[in-house]
Amino acid sequence: MEPLNKNNSKIEVILSCILITGVAASLLLMAAGMILLYLESGSFNISREPSMFIQGNNFFNFILDIFKGRGPENTALLLLTIGTIILMLTPFIRVVASLIYFIWIRDKKYIFITLVVLIILIITLSLH
């Protein structure tokens, strides 16, 4: 099948790659975290202990904290947390990639529209 719309075909391939990489990485980390959790606790039960809940007032600070080693001390929980972060970052990076693409092809309208989406996301992710 030849590309139907040459303008769109490249971006579609790029966005596919971002989506697949993000989701695959996230799910692998989550799976690893769950297996570790099982090995540690010896049970498959869904836990509602406070340590299972993640909370961050600012998504970007939350990521920074984990990079600085201020995340969960337990490896299983750390893997699960990073998996969740990567999953949440996937659509975010998709917007950033779209923005770069629209800048690349100098599509002013869509640079504007994509910027609006990006700004809304950045505000909610950081301004809580």
Binding site: L4, I46, M52, L80, M88, L121
Partner: protein, 280 residues
């Protein structure tokens, strides 16, 4: 019966698979099931929101590769759904869970509304469009396998479509679901997009809406790692498999089975909501 990780992955995979086949949402079925197993409704909603990012990105893969999704229009509509998603999630965090049971029941009931596909009046004429739509220049082409043709289409009514998408985002953020069926209805009936493009574009948008909602749930500390991980893994795997065979299966009985499950879930949500009111 006790809910454990293995059972949850299994259930999520089946629901994700059936959800992407029938178009009747995955998370909207899964959340009432979690509630059935005794998970507090707000936690179930927050977990659903995260899982949706995975399943929508997972099934978007095959759509985007087939160049069905209208990426430009999706970007425009995301402005509305993301705001809707954030507002919806904020409401859920603030209100009493009682309302959520009833909202959920009402939302599930909309699965019974038969949406009439209006694919026939797709505009292929440029000047039927309003000013904003023309400015957006969001027309697209897609390749239809069934008739081996490239089909060009011109979406219409983008502003009204945006308003519809705000409502879809509101419901999605509030209930932790994708609201895919609602989004597709807006795409087809208001924006006049072809059916295949509608579902592909809707899937693309769902992930972004879910991120808006998820950020609110992260802030409120409702995200439970041991609950989210099995759901995200299960529904995503289910959705990827389902997305690959989308449009190849059209099973009426499957849909009937799903609607029976939905009826049971509606009754359960109403029961929980009423029981909660009685206990107050």
């Amino acid at each position: 019966m006790n809910l454990n990780t293995a059972l949850l992955i299994f259930l999520s995979a089946i629901i994700g698979f059936l959800g992407s086949l029938t178009g009747l949402g995955g998370a909207s079925i899964l959340i009432p099931i979690l509630v059935f197993f005794g998970i507090p409704i707000k936690e179930a909603i927050a977990a659903g929101m995260i899982a949706i990012i995975g399943s929508s990105s997972g099934s978007a893969l095959s759509y985007v590769r087939n160049q069905m999704a209208n990426i430009r229009l999706a970007m425009f509509l995301e402005i509305f759904t993301v705001i809707g998603g954030i507002v919806g999630a904020t409401l859920t965090v603030m209100i009493s869970p009682v309302y959520l049971y009833f909202f959920f029941a009402v939302f599930l009931a909309t699965s019974f509304i038969k949406t009439k596909s209006s694919t026939r009046d797709i505009t292929d004429v440029e000047d039927k469009r309003d000013l904003l739509t023309r400015w957006l220049s969001c027309e697209g082409t897609y390749y239809d396998k069934s008739c081996d043709k490239k089909i060009k289409y011109y979406p219409k009514n983008t502003l009204l479509g945006g308003a519809g998408m705000f409502i879809a985002g509101l419901a999605a953020g509030m209930l932790g679901i994708g609201a895919g069926a609602f989004k597709t209805t807006v795409h087809e009936n208001i924006l006049k997009m072809p059916t295949k493009v509608s579902s592909a574009t809707s899937n693309f948008i769902i992930g972004m809406t879910a991120l808006g909602g998820a950020s609110v749930y992260l802030f409120s500390g409702l995200l439970n790692l041991s609950l989210m991980a099995p759901i995200a893994i299960g529904t995503t795997i289910g959705a990827i498999i389902g997305g690959r065979i989308l449009n190849r299966i059209k099973d009426k009985y499957l849909k009937i089975l799903f609607l029976i499950i939905v009826s049971a879930l509606i009754i359960q949500m109403l029961y929980k909501g009423i029981a909660l009111i009685w206990s107050l």
